[in-house]
Symmetry: C3
Subunit: 681 residues, 3 copies
Amino acid sequence: MIHDVLNEKEITLGVCYYPEHWPKDLWESDFQRMKELGFTYVRMGEFAWTIFEPEEGIYDFTLFDEAIEVAKKYDLKVIMGTPTATPPVWVTEKYPEVLNVSQSGVQFKHGARRHYNYNSEKYQELSANIVNQMAAHFKDHPTVVGWQIDNELNCEINVFYSDADHHQFRQWVKRKYQTLDQLNDAWGTVFWNQTYTSWEQVYLTQPTVNDSHNPHQALDEKRFFSDSAIAFAKLQADVIRSHTNTQWITTNGMFKHLDNHQLTQNVLDFYAYDSYPNFNKIIPDDSKKPLQDRKWSFNLSNVRSFGGNFAIFEQQAGPGGWVNRIEQPTPKPGQLRLWTYQSIAHGADQILYFRWRTATKGSEIYWHGINDYHNQRNRRIDEIDQVSHEIKKIGSSLVGSSYQAKAAIVIDYQNEWDGEVDRWYGDFIDQSQEAWFKAFQYQHIPVDLLNIEQAKTVEDLNGYQVLIYPHAAILTKETANLFSEYVKQGGTAIFGCRTGYKDLTGQTYMMKHPGYLADLTGSTVEEYTLISPLQERPTVSLFHGDPVTTEGFNEVLSLEDSDVEMIGSFDNAYYRGKPAATKRKFGQGYAYYFGGVFSYDIAEQMLQDLHIQRSDALSLPEKVEIAIRVKENRTFYILLNFASSDQLITIHQKMVNIVKEQVLRGDYIMKAYDVLVLESQ
Amino acid sequence: MIHDVLNEKEITLGVCYYPEHWPKDLWESDFQRMKELGFTYVRMGEFAWTIFEPEEGIYDFTLFDEAIEVAKKYDLKVIMGTPTATPPVWVTEKYPEVLNVSQSGVQFKHGARRHYNYNSEKYQELSANIVNQMAAHFKDHPTVVGWQIDNELNCEINVFYSDADHHQFRQWVKRKYQTLDQLNDAWGTVFWNQTYTSWEQVYLTQPTVNDSHNPHQALDEKRFFSDSAIAFAKLQADVIRSHTNTQWITTNGMFKHLDNHQLTQNVLDFYAYDSYPNFNKIIPDDSKKPLQDRKWSFNLSNVRSFGGNFAIFEQQAGPGGWVNRIEQPTPKPGQLRLWTYQSIAHGADQILYFRWRTATKGSEIYWHGINDYHNQRNRRIDEIDQVSHEIKKIGSSLVGSSYQAKAAIVIDYQNEWDGEVDRWYGDFIDQSQEAWFKAFQYQHIPVDLLNIEQAKTVEDLNGYQVLIYPHAAILTKETANLFSEYVKQGGTAIFGCRTGYKDLTGQTYMMKHPGYLADLTGSTVEEYTLISPLQERPTVSLFHGDPVTTEGFNEVLSLEDSDVEMIGSFDNAYYRGKPAATKRKFGQGYAYYFGGVFSYDIAEQMLQDLHIQRSDALSLPEKVEIAIRVKENRTFYILLNFASSDQLITIHQKMVNIVKEQVLRGDYIMKAYDVLVLESQ
Amino acid sequence: MIHDVLNEKEITLGVCYYPEHWPKDLWESDFQRMKELGFTYVRMGEFAWTIFEPEEGIYDFTLFDEAIEVAKKYDLKVIMGTPTATPPVWVTEKYPEVLNVSQSGVQFKHGARRHYNYNSEKYQELSANIVNQMAAHFKDHPTVVGWQIDNELNCEINVFYSDADHHQFRQWVKRKYQTLDQLNDAWGTVFWNQTYTSWEQVYLTQPTVNDSHNPHQALDEKRFFSDSAIAFAKLQADVIRSHTNTQWITTNGMFKHLDNHQLTQNVLDFYAYDSYPNFNKIIPDDSKKPLQDRKWSFNLSNVRSFGGNFAIFEQQAGPGGWVNRIEQPTPKPGQLRLWTYQSIAHGADQILYFRWRTATKGSEIYWHGINDYHNQRNRRIDEIDQVSHEIKKIGSSLVGSSYQAKAAIVIDYQNEWDGEVDRWYGDFIDQSQEAWFKAFQYQHIPVDLLNIEQAKTVEDLNGYQVLIYPHAAILTKETANLFSEYVKQGGTAIFGCRTGYKDLTGQTYMMKHPGYLADLTGSTVEEYTLISPLQERPTVSLFHGDPVTTEGFNEVLSLEDSDVEMIGSFDNAYYRGKPAATKRKFGQGYAYYFGGVFSYDIAEQMLQDLHIQRSDALSLPEKVEIAIRVKENRTFYILLNFASSDQLITIHQKMVNIVKEQVLRGDYIMKAYDVLVLESQ
């Protein structure tokens, strides 16, 4: 548990700080004001390699030693970042082989960040060395309590095509397949005469006409990218651990082509997420009732699935944006507080704001800190001050409590990665996950994410009444069996179109769909069609309800057994009247299959049929999110009003607002963006 | 004639098959089921180079020998593909000079297909060698009856910028122009100081600022690409013919930058087209009354113009798509049959479906075959079974019959290629061709395409009452004379804006437009303007009809002779009231000139004035296409219902539905997507 | 003054001509017809390097000597272009280092124009040499009166990344910063660990992940590009001046990344602009009441700010366009005349039309000259003939007169260049400049552009009653003081959001906004937010007027002094009711601050409050532009009707139409596109 690792008895706050950016005469007042704001942690060091090692083999830790001394004076604990996200220019000029390269061969140069590759032996050597020097230097410093490895692995770019990457991929493939025959089989190279007759012919995907690559190779490539990033983090973690067993290790972010579950469980002490809910203002969402900043609850649930409670190392503290991209508006009054509680609601036991003061130079002068350029008190500081006081009050109660969910959306990396290039199901995954999450949110049913690759036995699933696994194109016999057993024992499983037709190589089974799951669902796919944008979109009616427009894909189902119930059919197209959705009692539970992509409307309709247990302690309007957290025998309800207007809630049993130590019951008005933390009596 | 070449007495069906993809124990049942479906032909081998030649100089034909034996057992004739579309990785790794390169210098690597260039001497040598080995091996095998050269020449990519291409282009230019002075004249290099003073300075177009190249060089470049592809096909054809004179030779496809007329007439025994009408679902068409899948009738007419009746080597057999692109929905019930008859209606005497079974691996796992992954009977097999039974009945009657058309749309390659980079007329060609074709279709007037570059004398034109040549910017004095003679002898010729102002280099004549055609049309262009998207679009009224909006270009005409009639004028703009269209009796015929781009409405209005002879045997609704085929003294009417609904037709004279051997007269309801093959009595 | 330099007593006309393109037997009639059209000047030579120097070190001037002889015969004065815009292919093949290169490393090759870089020593040497040869040859030719250096510097491309550019940038940076510490400070390299530890590590911006570069480096890069272009022009000018002091020197164009003020004042005798108002038909403008071709008055005002009256070397003479881009429709009857007078109204004392005859070859066959391909009299020739006759009458009166403006829009290069990559204000500059210019235009208030970088003392500003400086993010203490002094002395200054928060490096001040200007405006920015496209746009009400929607940015202001007046507030968002605009009397004048981007509506509302002196001699409708020109004690009113319809004007005092020598008073109808040149009596 993270709070055991941190050895904290309460939820703690902190901030990111770059001592190297600011005149030293500001340090004293900066750290003093942090303490006044109730901060416990300060992160530093992650972009300072050249300060630590101004030239190869010459080290200088004085600047940070001094900063740490000042931090110590104000009782701040320091998290030290390893600086490998931004190699010095002396590294990249001397050893250009450490640079990352685009697929078409353009080498990324000094001038931004994350322009290195994970597989260069030289970069691994230089990285291990600087981390070794830093760990040796800081290991005995009691103010330094933990480490952040690198910064945002796979952010900015998550593909790598340097010579070192091509070379290491070849080794990776050799280890995985042992023989060329097995490689050729797995990649289906007989198609289009791609058969490899020597290991030396094997590369990561390369430039091709029309940018189309062998899809099985493309899937392995992402596995390799993930393994490379994890190995790079492990290299650093191992070095640090060779020096200390008291300073903990984490990394921050959550980006693509990275198995964060494996990373967390094999390398880190806990995971730290960077939460910027105002990104919703740069991501168009024309779906029904968009979740906007509330969608970050999905991301936080994902982080929770890596290994329980977690940290936030970068919590949005103001407007955001680089000079030339990602421009996010200013959070409205109350939103910084709301988003802090959103993190806590979903499992954050430690939160660092990004960052102390808005930078005055460089690409991120618009990625605002708590403080403005002018460094004077402002609205955001006031708001964080309030949060800090509240957390001081309730943080010891909440810390280490567990999020309660009776339902889970099932995720995995294989389909995420394979689906990236597969237009026949890839985009559906996000759409359906979001549709279901939205339905759960608006119905006030807390939901987890569950990585099925982590599930070893049916016990890992049994905690949930309902599992939604929308479009698992890749699905093995073992996973199918796991779901069958889960349903047999009383669980409910829901699948969408395109389920179960691929093996782990991304090749298709020579079976009726949904492949190994057909035994459980009792229905198969008679025929299917994608719905092209130039085509009319058929509607479907579920449970005799109103017709709902389908998008993306239609599967016409065939009921293979008499105990299978048609719960929905198509209203038009040449397959009108044919089954679109089925339900089957199987053992003690139910298996649902829907031959399409889930929209909010469809998820909402199916949800009515699921009868998930839920608390009747509160009546909430749609715009208020609820999180239920339990610790020992205490139950907390965290209510988050994402609306810009007042919202009426009704409390049906006696509750205590533990921030104000006030007993509440009956109707209550939550102000715009307000938060309520209740404990049931 | 193709059926003479094939030595068949009926229309034959077949399928594409990849024995190398499937376990051998499937072969027997696969071929047996092909026979049961009435198939005669099976194509194989075109992506199997590494199987034939696993390493340089080592050959192994056993796998295909065995497959051919099984095919033979079920009376299937084998078409063997030469495998040059996908070089082995041992070729491209050992001889990277064989790879194609983008204009900006990115080399296309192993991983997809068609990543080679036609001009590498090494690739020519390796290709000639493997074709030689194959021809030597298969020439005496009676089951192997013909060859497909390569696969879809110029598909995926139709530009080539490897060193070999630059080098060979220099030789090509030397042969064409003999002296640098003549090159400089032809390319107008005096403009922008582009004058060449040594042959070594000459390349294919290279990267330039704003991606603008010398347009005359760009035109020659396309001629060179076409010549290169034809020479590459001829290299292979010559090798095959040195071994056999009984096995015929073709290639398949129809792609850009390739003079298919020359290719067919100089290299092939007949042409084979790949017909995928469901591509209409990935090509947006916001024109009035879009033709959708019926637009493939235009393509088929184009193929017919290469050399009469033809084959289809890939007839759409299901949904289509690569993993990451070109996704086409599932054909609706009846459409596979409809499209098969569409091919026959326009001149196909042999049809192979693509492909037997949907691939389970590689980029094309969604390019569905007749059989699904699961290999069990499905709706598509039923439909093809029906077609096959029908063709067995009527194929001997129809085979070798000729398509009857009294009108033709005139095409050529020079304007197609020059127009690619010329925004002042290039896009108009397609728009006007489609507008006219649509007008002819909806008026049930069968129409041919006529490549004017193939016309040697006026006799080649005289078969048509009307010729439409929409926007021949490049037009020589010889062609102008040909049209004058044609009209003089009674033909009707129709021209659109931008006609006749360029010579064969793409330079403009120093003459009033339409240049050498002004003598025939009797009208010249007083002034003109393009219609920018930010500009109001004037309307034009023809034959005192309703105003029609013009798009793209307006030419204000001047009547140069008293016998010229103004048949339309502009309704607005500063040239309102001025002539927009003229008509002139010239000799026994008529010359029309329209100073704009043809829309469907304008083509439709002009069509009323043309009085083209047409059959009064049938009254048809708009959505039903008619093709009239004649053989000896028999006349066949093939009716194709492209609508998703029933259509009422009226048969005015006794006809026989030769599929059902049923006499028909009077009203008749064609079902959605249905086909009727009638013979007049 | 340009007319002193030209030594002309009247406004003169001319044309661009390429003798090398045309058969010599056309020259005689061409030059004769130019004379008949009243032309005085002919420009030639600028794309003829290979004719002058067919191989390295071999020179041949005979073709142009002959052409000049014919020009002389018809009293035409020749402007000779140096030919460096299009290097010969023998140069680029022999010395590929002279070529320009894209940021990602693609070298631009022979085939278009402007594919060279300014910093190659070899290109400088070759350029100096050919200019030297030409100057030596033509210096004594009395018909050759002046020189155009190169052609359209920085047109087509204005970034340069060849090795020579990287190398020279390193030298430029060394000269500017002297030490690496100062470089590191200026570029803020401590951010993201970009610290340079050796000069050899410094380059122009290079390819980076997500195409994001150090913004301070990116700003210096543009300064370097400008300096490089100016140095290249100066190199040539110095060579010419070493031969002659009677032939004047200019260059033509007006493109980005070039300080045209410096160029004009340090290198040229006067500036020559290329005016193509029909470009408005290829630039979408969805703003309110778009200015269309009238927007070229803004460009002409910009040119006037370089150094007073100027020349036009390319005045649009017909439709325009390359083969593959920039396609502009045909000017309507009257527009060529209108645009000629537009140039004169804003300060052109010499106008050359581009070009004599439409090219028959090359990329610009659609960039129409006065003459069509067919070379016969046309509508455009008639119109230019009319203009020429009119200018003969009034040109001596108008020549050298001065444009009168009481208001100016303040411009500078630092913000233009920095704003290019800064999404937090860059786009606002153009929007606000256009909004204000439009408001001035429609209110008939003549306006200048004023480059604040040229202003040394307050005297340089005092001529204006009002200065609008919309979004000067970069603003030094010195400039702030200049404005304070200007206002103190009675001027009115208007600023928009994002003013004053950056220093000359592009780093942000650690001050409240608007930084050093806060003392003048008396208001500071309490908080701000950008308005994302996914966000609702608040409205603002100024002077209790109607609410106007804001775009892009909102600043909430804080009134810092009791003498500051809130003149507008936000109507909604969480800052409703808070100040959006302030006004303060400061000394004798007023300072306005608006916390937003200026729209036409807002500029229009503020304009009402400014009480700018204006002439009451005329009442004009919106679509008619007025320019007031003064010379000695004569005042001229040039009225330009940009409407396609008749416009009623009222003349309140006796005026003379000096073209028709007609006294006018009272109502008068201007025809569509008509021009009136009035002199007050």
